[in-house]
């Protein structure tokens, strides 16, 4: 599996995404610049990292959706290619229409950075074989997942809710939800074969014990296992 990390001028979680994919999961990993019209050749996995793509003074990801590289990412996703968007990457995927719904300002109106717990809520390439509770960090001001009732129904019925916020024991809802996301949604699947994942927590920032935990590494390992 070959990975490409998309870098916008305001991406700032690209270093840890590249480090995790290249040095920990040990995938050949390249960088795709936002002005590129094509992904690097033979890209299997596209990772859109966190950050503030073009400053995001407008809506997060609203400018990124029309960037040259996103047209290539769209073609890749529609072909069934693997895509993971983390934090700002998730926001960009929803703005680009590759995932439904929107990420709006946290209910408490503040940026929040801390560890949360999530539970896998559907089978899929990034969630197969995961433990029932993972500890992952969040770091966002706009992470409250919202969608209309029909979309939520489709996500729930289609097994497309990839992760929900929960407490350390796995109980979903209530105070465990850090941003007011509807249905406690932390991440969703999309694409023709659940090949696109968007999530607010940062698995790439918690993939080795030295930085506080390695639960995040399991998502990437699950994908590598599913793809082979």
């Amino acid at each position: 599996m070959r990975a490409s990390v998309v870098v916008f001028p305001g991406s700032n979680a690209d270093a840890e995404m590249i480090h995790t994919l290249r040095d920990l999961v040990r995938l050949p990993t390249e960088v795709a610049w936002h002005k590129d019209a094509e992904l690097p050749p033979d890209t299997d996995l596209v990772a859109i990292p966190g950050g503030f793509s073009y400053g995001d003074y407008l809506r997060c990801g609203a400018i990124a959706r029309v960037s040259p590289i996103m047209a290539a990412v769209r073609r890749h996703a529609e072909r069934g290619g693997w895509v993971i968007g983390v934090c700002n990457g998730f926001q960009i995927l929803t703005e680009a229409g590759l995932l439904p719904g929107a990420l709006t300002q946290n209910q408490h109106l503040r940026f929040e950075c801390r560890d949360v717990y999530v539970t896998p809520a559907a089978d899929g390439p990034f969630t197969r074989g995961l433990p029932s509770v993972l500890r992952l960090p969040i770091a966002h001001a706009e992470g409250r997942y919202q969608a209309d009732a029909a979309t939520l129904e489709r996500l729930e019925q289609g097994g497309l809710v990839a992760f929900r916020y929960c407490d350390a024991a796995g109980a979903v809802g209530g105070a465990a939800n850090p941003n007011g996301a509807m249905h406690d949604i932390a991440g969703i699947y999309g694409g023709p074969r659940k090949n696109v994942l968007g999530l607010m927590p940062h698995p790439e920032r918690m993939s080795e014990p030295l930085v506080g935990g390695a639960d995040g590494r399991r998502l990437f390992d699950a994908l590598v296992a599913a793809a082979s």
Binding site: E16, Y54, H202, L210
Partner: protein, 778 residues
Amino acid sequence: MPGPATLPGDPPMTPALLRAHKVNDDEYARLEASLGRPPSYTELGVFSVMWSEHCSYKSSRVHLGRLPTAGPRVIQGPGENAGVVDIGDGFAAIFKMESHNHPSYIEPYQGAATGVGGILRDVFTMGARPVASMDSLRFGRPDHPRTAALLRGVVAGVGGYGNCVGVPTVGGELQFDASYDGNILVNAFTCGVARTDRIFYGRASGIGNPILYVGAKTGRDGIHGATMASDEFSAGGPSQRPTVQVGDPFMEKLLIEACLEIFSEDLLAGVQDMGAAGLTSSSVEMASRSGSGLELDLDAIPRRAARLTPYEMLLSESQERMLLVCHQGKEDRVRAICDKWDLDAAVVGRVTDSGRWVVIATPGYDPLDDAQTPPRREDKVVVCDLPVDVLTDAAPKYDRPRGPDASLAARHAFDPRTIPVPGSWSEELVRMVGTPNLGSKRWVYRQYDSIVRGGTIARPGADAGIVRVPCEKDGHTVEKILAFAADCNGRMVELDPWGGAAKAVAEACRNLVISGAEPIGLTDCLNFGSPERPEIMEQFSQAIDGLAAACRALDVPIVSGNVSFYNETDGRAILPTPTIGAVGLVADAADVVSSFFRGAGDAVLLLGDARSGALSLGGSEYVMQKTGKAQGAPPKLDLDKERALQGLALELARAHVVRSMHDASDGGLAAALVECAVGADRPELVFGCDVALDADASDAASELFAEDPSRIVASCERALVERVKAMAAARGVPCAELGVTGGGRVVIRARGGVELVDVATERLRASRESALESIVGA
């Protein structure tokens, strides 16, 4: 030589104009004598900022020379944009702390945000990628009507800027005191890492080299920010809002990436960010450091406001702007890199050998006016023509009068034993750890991205923030682990400027060694009241000596810093606050030590003197809360004991024999024990403890809450207690076994098993974590 042109609209040189520029009569006379002619209006503006306290350090310079700034690791001490310290394998840590107090009080979000932006630029300007930030904040009393809005705005501003730029904010401090009611402190720290063979200096070298302006366009924001920072506020004064700058962190991010790319090729002779006093200060400083001259053509300045005058362009403090001195012939390559990052770059001048700072412009020319034809060389006039050394070295230096603080004797005489004993020490402790000064700062640091770039090993809330930094050189990567701490207890400094300042150094370094890091360098941010008052100058002078003594005792240099005077409102000064930012190097990731208990059944040890005298409550948070005053004689810092203690702590960390270490500081030993027990962010990592103090119950107040320096609470496996004791004995450090970790309660006993405190950990945790709710809500 004829003087510069008088421009249309230049006001005449009147006493009122001089006053508006805060240039006094002596200074004006000195200026005229140096020039041999009166300055033009534009030149007066330039002098007012260059000779301002903020830029010239005119009141502090005579004292700053007493600070130790050299050492085997020091590559660059004070005087450059930031200090540079060798961290081995061809890499250096580059860091500084700087104040942005006045702007943050006027407009808290933008003031704090641009404070972060400014310190980031100081660091990456030298060729370093920023790897960690901290912020040291002071606000007025929690129930002051403005405190909540100021706190919300400043924290959101620090986060809003740092989070976007993508530099983790890994630590800092936050204190409340009524002295900051009208003058908050926002001290921002950043550290970066660079290759030692690619460090860039703010020097305009190479005669004929072009000067490039890169980054945001120039507007009217921030004009006279440096002079504002050199003045005190008054309640009835006019709004100073127009002098506050507005930050654009995305632009800063572009500048960082573009500059680091430019630095990686051999394109530049020097570089300087435009900070306080903008284009003027940056260009003058570069010419001064290299002993060269400089010519600027204002017609070429990129601008976003119409009809800017030379005066405005030279004094604007628009953010996110850099001046690059490019090697001749390399301009196109620099421009190509700027294009990649969609940044403006314009040649705005050149280096000369004249020793003069010459500014030219075409009167009335405005590139934003489409109808205008491009300016012609023959239409340009000289608007400033000043010797560089007059702007810098000839700036006045004052050895201002010093005198004792007459209130100190009475305050020292206060006997803390006169404070009535509370009914329950348990309830007292629950209340104390829930106060804004002692409680958890979680509400603040959760608004900072402390983990961006994926290398944060210890997050805010710990004694030191710790970051792993991959250092790449020629395709080979080594990992460095850096630790950061910021400390100052202004109350202790006010009661004893020498001792309080020395304690700030000791505590910052102690927080590093107990985390497993060797202190390698310090930066200071010296926040004081008006230097024109003798008691303030006395505080300042003594504090400098205290800092210096502690640096010598602990063998760590101060490599960069900042002085902020005039922190007062209506004649009332802030607590003297010489904030110390400390940088440490962790030799091996396995040496990192937790600040919190790690499990049940470990031994709890106290390293350092076990007993506090009854009088040592002086200056403590306890006395403050009980009497509303900072009073009593503060406990003395013994630098020999501190040095031995810190040597022991680092040895224990490196021998991997302790499970946690945490220093007893604000709130004393009792607060420290609570922090060890319930300070971890995750509830499953809370461990109570049962400890016994070798003290009579009648001494409970000072035993629990006195803030004696040089004490560390450690925990270790019980099988290792004797080994730890032996290591302590070898260094002459007292080491007492207090008790054991575990259980759901914090129990503290006096001699004879008398129970002083017995509280459930959940209560202590809930109290600590709601500490800021009284200010900002749940």
